[in-house]
């Protein structure tokens, strides 16, 4: 009964959100569309990172590299063949791929699969490491991917980057992908695989003793994470219309680390919330970049760049007071929401009990 109700509510919510996406796509300006799109793309990548870091407890920092693979798949295959000579002006494209053109969705999937393949190859040696060592090794691999891209001039146009990717600014398209990724990962987390991931996160030795194949599950999580990061990277490239290797410096990974730490490691809703807070929040804080006059006196602090100071202070504060991120490992559920709606003040009471 409750299950059926929840399912119906979820379907209604999804339909409502899709309607909202439709509205945003046609009725609002390109600035808002861009922010909404960016929030969703960052949420996909944040969620993909959460799968290894949050749910499986493997501290991996390779997301920028996997994104780069997906982004370049889109960059290489979706640029119209007629525009390629002007993009590859320094050295012509390799003849084997010069005439291959794909629609965006196919390029996204190809990019995702390539990223997953690379993750499989990297995973074999690297996933035997734990903790900090794994972080360093994956970071290194993501840099290797970037450097290979920089040097493969005839395939990726090297440091010059690729331009003229057909622009994608359709909120519905990106929403459909985001919804699909969220539904897939939610479903995955509730299968035996998902429970195995969580068991590995809590205690590897105990999980192994329970008969969970550590390596198989870790590489599965790692590959799926790379696959979705590749799709996210591809959407990112299509959204910007251009890619270049400098985009995918390892500092990009920290953006997503920030999103998942802020939202909550091991929370799907947390990734979405984190991504909205970081992307839309930073845009909102632009008011601090604009000059401000109070009583006819210009306040010198309000100048471009000031918002980054405010942002850092807010981040520090958030992390100090919500150590496990905004959601922790909790999720948004209909049961809790309905309980909250029935008794909005109950939440304070419960908290008191928790503390005692």
């Amino acid at each position: 009964m409750a299950k059926k109700r929840n399912l119906i509510l979820t379907v209604i919510l999804l339909a409502g959100l899709f309607g909202l996406a439709w509205y945003i796509n046609f009725e609002t300006d390109s600035y808002l569309r861009r922010i909404v799109n960016l929030c969703m793309v960052y949420a996909i990548i944040g969620l993909s990172m959460n799968l290894t870091n949050g749910f499986t407890g493997q501290f991996s920092l390779g997301q920028a590299g996997f994104m780069a693979i997906g982004a370049y798949a889109v960059g290489i295959f979706t640029v119209p063949v007629s525009l390629r000579p002007s993009v590859f002006y320094a050295a012509p494209m390799h003849p084997a791929i010069a005439d291959i053109h794909m629609p965006l969705w196919l390029a996204l999937i190809v990019g995702g699969l390539c990223a997953a393949l690379v993750a499989f190859l990297i995973g074999a040696p690297v996933l035997r490491l734990r903790g900090d060592y794994l972080a360093v090794a994956t970071l290194g691999f993501s840099e290797i991917i970037r450097i290979v891209i920089t040097n493969a001039q005839t395939i990726t146009n090297g440091a010059l980057g690729i331009k003229d990717i057909p622009p994608l600014n359709d909120v519905r398209y990106i929403f459909a992908f985001t919804a699909a990724v969220f539904i897939f990962i939610t479903a995955l987390i509730n299968t035996s695989y998902g429970r195995a991931f969580k068991a590995i996160r809590e205690d590897e030795i105990a999980a192994e003793a329970m008969g969970i194949d550590l390596f198989k599950h870790k590489s599965l999580a790692f590959m799926l994470s790379a696959f979705f990061a590749g799709i996210g990277g591809g959407l990112y490239a299509a959204l910007l219309g251009t890619v270049d290797p400098k985009n995918f410096l390892f500092t990009l990974t920290y953006n997503f680390l920030l999103i998942i730490v802020l939202g909550g490691m091991g929370s799907i809703t947390g990734s979405m919330i984190g991504s909205i807070l970081v992307t839309a929040g930073l845009e909102f804080l632009r008011i601090f970049d604009e000059p401000l006059e109070l009583f006819g006196v210009a306040i010198p602090l309000f100048r471009p760049g000031f918002r980054m100071v405010i942002f850092s202070v807010l981040l520090m504060a958030l992390v100090l007071f919500w150590r496990r991120g905004i959601m922790g490992t909790r999720e948004f559920t209909w049961d809790k929401t309905i309980a909250f709606c029935k008794n909005p003040f109950g939440i304070f009471g419960r908290k008191g009990v928790d503390k005692a």
Binding site: D29, S30, Y31, L32, R34, I35, L38, L83, S86, V87, Y89, A90, A91, I147, T150, N151, G158, A159, L160, G161, K163, D164, P167, N169, Y236, L239, L240, G241, T242, D244, P245, K246, N247, L282, E283, F284, L285, R286, I287, F288, D289, E290, L292, E293, P304, G305, R307, M308, L314, A317, F321
Partner: protein, 384 residues
């Protein structure tokens, strides 16, 4: 504690919102201003370059505060040296601040990310120092005040040839689009000039951030070039030249306009003496009346020598204002675009500026050489 903190956060946001509203109200009151959008990297990796360019634009705004009888107001926005932010901020300037012309940015990849936005919304943008040819290619709404990588590479090839070089080694910063572009066109032009593909004896690569170049240099020393062309970032280039001198490699080094910073001389010390580079601006060759005005104003405002970046940003503003003036409207962005596209012989700081059919500035280059710890003017290369 948590609750107290939530209240604090909420009130901070509320104050922010109020100040935002206050600003908007005031703007509505003075609709007689013309807004010009400026987007530059003012934080992040490229902040130094962005800051220099902002100086130029502010200075230009001070010198030319009015067009069509209305005051020009700059709306400055930071793109955080991030491509996604560059695209969002360009959209913000267009949608929220309703600007009809945009100036920016330092960094070609940032300009390319904003390229689609200005094209979609049909608002012209004028790049300050984005030299990658792709910025204006296939985009009718992007222009630029600077010359492009191919031109600069060709200029240096001509300079090397003129000074009697027969064999050249190229060392490029392969992860830098600018360096790769320069090296490629240097190579093409030089091979054409000498008529022999063997005149480029080596093309070596290094990565941004590399510190040790001895392997590359030893290899090149064995091949005995007349000159080394090494476009790249100023820190790496200065280290490269230093290490070359330590290895006993005495041939001159040539580079591009990125070298023109005090840091290049600080890091390289006396080893970079004699290194030559091409750039857009030099005060000795400052021929236009606008350049004299700019120099005087710069010294008064900021002291010291203005960099080429500042001069280019100043020129970008002039191109924008000139476009609005000739279009006779500050509200029709398509008309402004058409006017900017026809910019011809505009009196700018870096010489008379004409935009070609791609929207790139056709202008002369200056060659400078490091002498006694200063960049000294040595040659002038006009466009043919």
């Amino acid at each position: 504690m948590k609750k107290f903190f939530s209240v604090l956060l909420a009130s901070a946001l509320a104050v922010g919102m109020l100040s935002g509203c206050g600003g908007e109200k005031k703007d509505a009151a003075k609709s007689d201003v013309i807004k010009v959008g400026v987007f530059l990297p003012l934080t992040g990796d490229n902040a130094a370059g962005g800051e220099l360019e902002l100086r130029g634009i502010k200075l230009a705004n001070k010198m030319h505060p009015e067009v069509l009888g209305k005051k020009v107001e700059l709306v400055v926005a930071d793109n955080k040296s991030d491509k996604a932010e560059a695209a969002s901020v360009a959209a913000r300037l267009i949608e929220k601040d309703k600007v009809k012309v945009i100036i920016g940015t330092y960094g070609s990849s940032l300009a390319m990310a904003a390229g689609n936005i200005v094209k979609e919304n049909k608002v012209p943008a004028i790049g300050t120092s984005c030299t990658n040819p792709q910025v204006t290619a296939n985009n009718d709404y992007y222009f630029r005040a600077c010359f492009i990588d191919p031109f600069q590479g060709t200029v240096m090839a001509n300079y090397a040839f003129k000074n009697g070089a027969k064999k050249v080694a190229i060392i490029q910063e392969v992860s830098n689009d600018y360096a790769v572009g320069l090296a490629k066109f240097f190579k093409e032009a030089f091979v054409k000039l000498t008529g022999s593909p063997d005149s480029i004896i080596e093309v070596a690569n290094y990565q941004t951030g590399d510190k040790d170049f001895s392997a590359i240099l030893t290899n090149i020393k064995a091949k005995n070039p007349d000159v080394i062309f090494a476009p790249g970032n100023f820190t790496e280039s200065a280290l490269l030249i230093k290490q070359a001198r330590q290895l006993g490699l005495t041939v001159p080094f040539l580079g591009g306009d990125t070298w023109e910073t005090q840091e290049f001389i600080d890091v390289g010390g006396k080893d970079v003496e004699g290194a030559s580079l091409s750039t857009a601006f030099d005060r000795e060759k400052a021929s236009t009346a606008e350049a004299k005005k700019f120099l005087d104003a710069y010294v008064k405002e900021y002291k010291g020598e203005p960099s080429a970046l500042t001069a280019l940003a100043y020129d970008a503003y002039l191109i924008a204002i000139d476009g609005i003036k000739r279009a006779g409207t500050a509200t029709d962005s398509v008309k402004i675009r058409d006017a900017i596209a026809q910019t011809k012989d505009l009196e700018a700081v870096t010489g008379k500026t004409t935009l070609d059919k791609n929207g790139d500035a056709i202008k002369a280059a200056v060659i400078k050489t490091v002498k006694d710890g200063k960049f000294k003017y040595t040659d002038f290369v006009d466009v043919k």
